[in-house]
């Protein structure tokens, strides 16, 4: 099927909430830094951020700056804006984050036609301002 250009969903329609476990991720995003939650003791990465390392039980956390690149693990192609039902081609992707083994983000990809998106495609973080002053990591074809 032919869909045409993939676009990120409009940031002014998007809200997030945070809690003390997740907020450092979003604060880093505001600074243009892509991070992931890393155990401060054993080094295991986990996303979304949670209170305790599932491997060693430690509460210590690091928030390293990642390269900002990722690989598409899977995706869908959608053609309606979920907020208002209008025609809108967007591609939700599940990506594996470089520099943080085992972690993923769910985002939109742009910079190519929707039908050209494929598993294994390399992408680079692309920041989208959203409501309440937060910034969302989306991705562009690398």
């Amino acid at each position: 099927m032919t869909y045409g250009p993939a676009r990120a969903l409009p940031g002014d329609q998007i809200r997030i909430t945070t809690n003390p476990d997740t907020e450092p991720f979003w604060q880093a995003a505001k600074e243009g830094r892509l991070t992931a939650c890393q155990c401060g003791d054993c080094g295991h990465f986990r996303m979304p951020p949670t209170a305790i390392c599932p491997e060693c039980g430690s509460r210590a956390k690091n928030w390293p700056t990642l390269p900002g690149t990722a690989t598409i693990f899977s995706y869908a192609i959608c053609n309606k804006n979920p907020k208002n039902g209008e025609d809108y081609v967007y591609v939700p992707v599940v990506v594996d984050l470089d520099g943080a083994p085992g972690t993923r983000l769910n985002a939109n990809v742009s910079g190519c036609d929707a039908e050209d998106v494929h598993i294994g495609m390399k992408v680079r973080v692309d920041w989208t301002p959203i409501q309440d002053g937060w910034v969302l990591p989306n991705f562009k074809k690398a």
Partner: protein
């Protein structure tokens, strides 16, 4: 090792309301429909609803997506004198058949004597599942998912289906065959919502909602209620029908599946799966059976690819071979012989969530009961063992094996 509670309890009553297209059950209320289903199930069992003294829910006692069952309200509605068991499995529709295991726990602990498991569903416009996720302000966990526009369950499962296609060469033709094979079982079912046979051309023309999934890969949206009554074997023998014996029941799952498509962190090969492997292994260990011993499989079909992936997880075929298994016609029921086709096990002889009605898994239990009673509309000849599975979703997921008495 065989399960300690194997063959000690049975489902003795099944009851339902009419099935309504989404939103059409109004002005009936949730408790009205729930009470009708309970009373019909009790009448089927040959007991009074005032003998019910246990409630074994699933889906965190949810009634649909925004309503909640409350045992006290149901007691007040139905005039039940006392209860001594009121419990639920957590998460959602994945726990549906597992609730019969919960019922068994209450009965074997001698907490109760007749326990009801039920679901009632009324999707008024503001309660529609497809928009429930998207309408809610995202919580901190969901803030890592919802902004991607993966807001409905069909969106979420399309991502799993895509990965399965990538890893194993699975085709959309197989998803279509799941829908067509089970649609073929509803033409003679009076209460079914979709009864017309479905052609491949019609399937291929169905609108793409979340590529690779089409509208017809999505299950129905139904209003209605279904209830089943479980009791101990000694009491079951005094009921009106032959008991549908609880041979095995398990719920749970492993960390790699976890919150599943509310998370998307599952490593391969769990990502492109139904998340049922752990529970499948348990239920086969409990029963001493394998997929080869099952006569009819009632597989939760909220989305067609998840049927294919459950068939793999339960061992009806090898992992990655679901496409060829499905396309060889092995899900089909042959009404002439009363058996499967091409050596397969008939799947969803009632038409399932895709074609008959969607009451979050309860119709699959009802069909399992009718099959081992020998009274199903599309009766599998000499059916001894029926497998019933719950919806692939956040843990726990669950399954049940019913045995002919």
């Amino acid at each position: 090792m065989a399960w300690v509670n194997q063959d000690k309890c049975a489902i003795v009553g099944i009851g339902s309301t009419d099935y309504y297209v989404r939103g059409k059950s109004w002005p009936r209320t949730i408790n009205d429909m729930a009470a009708e289903a309970i009373m019909n199930a009790c009448a089927d069992a040959g007991i009074s609803h005032k003998q019910i003294d246990g409630f074994s829910y699933y889906s965190t006692a949810g009634a649909g997506y925004l309503d909640k069952f409350d045992t006290a309200s149901l007691m007040e509605t139905l005039g039940m004198p006392h209860i001594s068991w009121s419990a639920t499995l957590t998460s959602g529709g994945g726990g549906c058949p597992g609730a019969i295991g919960l019922a068994t726990a209450g009965l074997m602990n001698e907490d109760c004597t007749y326990t009801v498991t039920l679901m009632a569903l009324q999707q008024l416009p503001q309660h529609r599942l497809g928009v429930v996720f998207g309408a809610a302000a995202p919580n901190p966990e969901n803030s890592f998912l919802q902004p991607s526009g993966l807001v409905g369950p069909g969106h979420l499962m399309s991502v799993l289906a895509r990965r399965h296609m990538h890893l194993y060469g699975t085709t959309q033709d197989a998803f279509g065959e799941v829908v067509m094979a089970t649609r073929a079982n509803t033409h003679n079912r009076p209460k079914a919502v979709r009864k017309e046979p479905l052609t491949k051309e019609q399937y291929d023309a169905s609108v793409m909602l979340a590529d690779p999934l089409r509208r017809l890969d999505f299950c129905l949206e139904t209003d209605g209620a279904v209830a089943v009554i479980t009791t101990t074997m000694d009491r079951a023998r005094d009921c009106r029908h032959k008991p549908a014996v609880v041979h095995a029941a398990a719920h749970g799952g492993q960390r790699e599946w976890g919150r599943a498509f509310a998370w998307m962190g599952m490593p391969d090969p769990y990502f492109a799966s139904s998340g049922h492997k752990f529970t499948a292994d348990r239920i086969w260990a409990q029963s001493g059976l394998t997929a080869k011993d099952i006569d009819v499989a009632l597989i939760y079909d909220h989305f067609s690819p998840m049927v294919l992936m459950q068939l793999e997880d339960y061992g009806f075929c090898e992992k990655g071979e679901g496409n060829d298994y499905v396309l060889s016609g092995k899900l089909r029921y042959d009404p002439v012989t009363g058996k499967g086709v091409n050596g397969g096990v008939p799947v969803n002889t009632h038409g399932g969530n895709l074609n008959e009605a969607y009451i979050i898994g309860m119709t699959h239990i009802v069909e399992g009961v009718e099959q081992v009673r020998g009274t199903a509309i599309n009766q599998v000849k000499d059916a001894e063992f029926a497998l019933v599975s719950g919806g692939p979703a956040s843990l726990p997921v669950s399954s049940l094996i019913l045995r002919k008495d």
